[in-house]
Symmetry: D2
Subunit: 275 residues, 4 copies
Amino acid sequence: MANSEFTYVKNFEPPDSLPLSNWIVVRIDGRGFSKLCKKYNFTKPNDKRAIDLMNSAAVQVVKSFHDIVLAYGQSDEYSFVFHESTTLFERRSAKLSTSVATMFTAEYVMQWREFFPEEEMKLCRPFPTFDGRCVCYPKKSILRDYLSWRQADCHINNLYNTTFWSLVLKGGEDGQGMSGTEAEKMLKGTLASDKNEILWKNFGVNYNDEEEVFKKGSVLYRAYDDAVSKTQLEKERKRKMKARIVTEHTDIIGNAFWEKRPYILATKKGDVCNE
Amino acid sequence: MANSEFTYVKNFEPPDSLPLSNWIVVRIDGRGFSKLCKKYNFTKPNDKRAIDLMNSAAVQVVKSFHDIVLAYGQSDEYSFVFHESTTLFERRSAKLSTSVATMFTAEYVMQWREFFPEEEMKLCRPFPTFDGRCVCYPKKSILRDYLSWRQADCHINNLYNTTFWSLVLKGGEDGQGMSGTEAEKMLKGTLASDKNEILWKNFGVNYNDEEEVFKKGSVLYRAYDDAVSKTQLEKERKRKMKARIVTEHTDIIGNAFWEKRPYILATKKGDVCNE
Amino acid sequence: MANSEFTYVKNFEPPDSLPLSNWIVVRIDGRGFSKLCKKYNFTKPNDKRAIDLMNSAAVQVVKSFHDIVLAYGQSDEYSFVFHESTTLFERRSAKLSTSVATMFTAEYVMQWREFFPEEEMKLCRPFPTFDGRCVCYPKKSILRDYLSWRQADCHINNLYNTTFWSLVLKGGEDGQGMSGTEAEKMLKGTLASDKNEILWKNFGVNYNDEEEVFKKGSVLYRAYDDAVSKTQLEKERKRKMKARIVTEHTDIIGNAFWEKRPYILATKKGDVCNE
Amino acid sequence: MANSEFTYVKNFEPPDSLPLSNWIVVRIDGRGFSKLCKKYNFTKPNDKRAIDLMNSAAVQVVKSFHDIVLAYGQSDEYSFVFHESTTLFERRSAKLSTSVATMFTAEYVMQWREFFPEEEMKLCRPFPTFDGRCVCYPKKSILRDYLSWRQADCHINNLYNTTFWSLVLKGGEDGQGMSGTEAEKMLKGTLASDKNEILWKNFGVNYNDEEEVFKKGSVLYRAYDDAVSKTQLEKERKRKMKARIVTEHTDIIGNAFWEKRPYILATKKGDVCNE
């Protein structure tokens, strides 16, 4: 930027580097997506095409930012986890959140036609956009609790939505569709087991047989075919570019996922500290 | 968001509301736009189509966010000024910057074809994206200095670029194109007057006759056809939606622009304070 | 600080410079002063010696920090206003609040004996201490509202306390002292006019005749005997050191005080901006 | 605080709670202590009375704040470590730093006479004060590096100062005192081993025999006579009040100190997370 008598105003920009040695989660959320769902008549309770689009956009984001170690998505939200030692954009909060959110948005609108090729699904204004924010997690265990929080949220909402839309679309005992208000009333205060039973009794649906992608959301990470040795770590950047990005719909609350893939949250050689 | 034992992680999200009674500028900047210029062979020193696209995307942003009182753009950047009394998103910094930046990005990529209809200009990855940030200015006078800073920057860069590319494309004294390095060397340490003279002597170009949009950048604001009365202020929201959004390439450093349109930075009835 | 392999931890100290061109108020508050009042048997509703001690400690703070333009105190709190253009400690928040709060505390405990010479008033643990914080006010008008807020608070509390303690110490209609609970109950929901009447009817007290220091609190500022000329402004630092520091108990909510002493909140030559 | 039309100004106070699950260090530093040393003629290179006073003031701070798990002091600075799970003052940064700094200051000035009973040492203005700040450390290992940093700093400075003042007070090879500038020049660029040799060759001083308090600084923590069981942890608050506070001058860089006292940095039952 060129100099002038007005340059002093630059000093009003506050420093916003996030604290060192914290895992940085950039979570983006669809803006006004309930309206969007109605406008484009998304399938209820889940529109597989919409979720595939979310995942496809997220893959591009993970590919572009090498310091993202894992991403988790469900519904209209996606969380991107940057390694605690990242120095990308000097860890500046606004740079991180806007760069991730705008790339996700650009991918989402540009890929839309692939997932919704029908003429009547053509995007029109207001175009889908996403807000975003950075959150710091100081410990691996808390980061994992964050991810568990989002996956538990996915499960709770999906069980509710599956039951709610079964009642609305396929109806109550008389086989007639319920109104939204009636269904809401019926579900108020019910436990997970109650909802499972409603699904089974009324609709012959075993919730466990629902698709994993709806029950678990989507986990993205880099898959390596071989064990990670010291030398390989040094060639990390190169490897990352080659690595396949995997999209799975699997449990990340328990330990199995993490124990099988210790490299995902590995503390790197030369990191600021060893936990 | 549904509740679970993991919900405590929500408490790690820091509050980020910007201080009250400050003008909020959200400035977005193209990420890696020098590469983009090369990739799509943008005209040098200015590509009118690219600037028109920037302006057209910005118009949509201004239309969507009613609390934006003015926007100023040049090159690959745009500054959106929110009124000091805005309560949009509870003045949360990350919400403001990501919402503006993703809407601008969505508009930019979706409108691309209108401005670059040629087959060879078709957008391919990495798609254009923009980072963004919020900056607070506590006084009207400092906000105006901020805007003056950006416009002075536009002028200084444009004079340099116009001269540089004249030398490179049309050449030095022998009429042959200079190399970039030669041109850079020749311009090092020159004053504005020197550049004006080079343009005039070597290329018969009077810098003052260059297009205003290149010399001044673009100012966007709402134009009202009538004077603003008290009652009208109350109908503000309605009026804003109707108002034409004007794109001008005019001086905003001097007082004339502002004195003619006092309503742009007017302190509103019921504001937190009257300075 | 000497260098070692551990020096990296220094990078965890976050920058905390307060935004430019904002008036900075450091307000300190006595920690646990209701206990202190009981322990040393302070006179109710106001202990003049305790207030004199507060003011005397505050004078030393104002003397030491030349960029303090005004201080206002009441009860166990004091607000110190730093000029919006101060660069003291690079405007670092923690430095400003702790330097002011520790100096005030040191003065308070060291001067205690002067104001409470009696043997039974000798300070013992826990010694009086003060917490503090910085608050930024972007405009003169809002700063004045801040000061008005504190003075209005002083008035409201003092009227309440004067009535409450009259009831408790001198009693209700029967001339017997009320219990605290009874007095509290009686005053619940009363307006200022009601309290004025209780004081007048029951105790023959005209609230307006109460001491100004209790009704208005204390304003500290530098008094200059001569008008401020340009040249004098340049000699500012010298003059400040010479200036008498005045302690007054006067209205700062209205305009009269400020119009008579425009130099107190004057925007200085060479400031970052002129509003 | 009473309500009035001005109460809105309260909203300018920014939230300043420190991030959860981080160890909070409040470090205080003497303001202008090199002047103080000269004014009161402190013994060089170390004044034992002054250090004893620092330690004695720190003990009172540790006693008062139950969530302080350890304190480390050297020269005119003291670091107080609050447990990562503390909720004191809702973890508000300004409250924590000013409360600690003012209590330390009050103790320092009030205890002064005990450590400097001589008439000529009587405190006069400006009284000693301390600035302070909060720093967050997200991991135990980094907190330990912080403490190691301060202790390494103590060692490096003390070796330098011991050598410097030996040269100045007892002289160089001719037995005459050097000037400060000469000593500084002589020590410039020397290694630890060089300084050790100068001390030994010129003054027959074995640095290892210097007092531990000067070489290591002072560590304060609560000493418990018995092992810590679960039930005891529940009675923690009570126990803390009874615990002796120990002042030691011992190595805290190596593991021995910490392995012997695992309870000092123990993650508590019911903490937000287990590392």
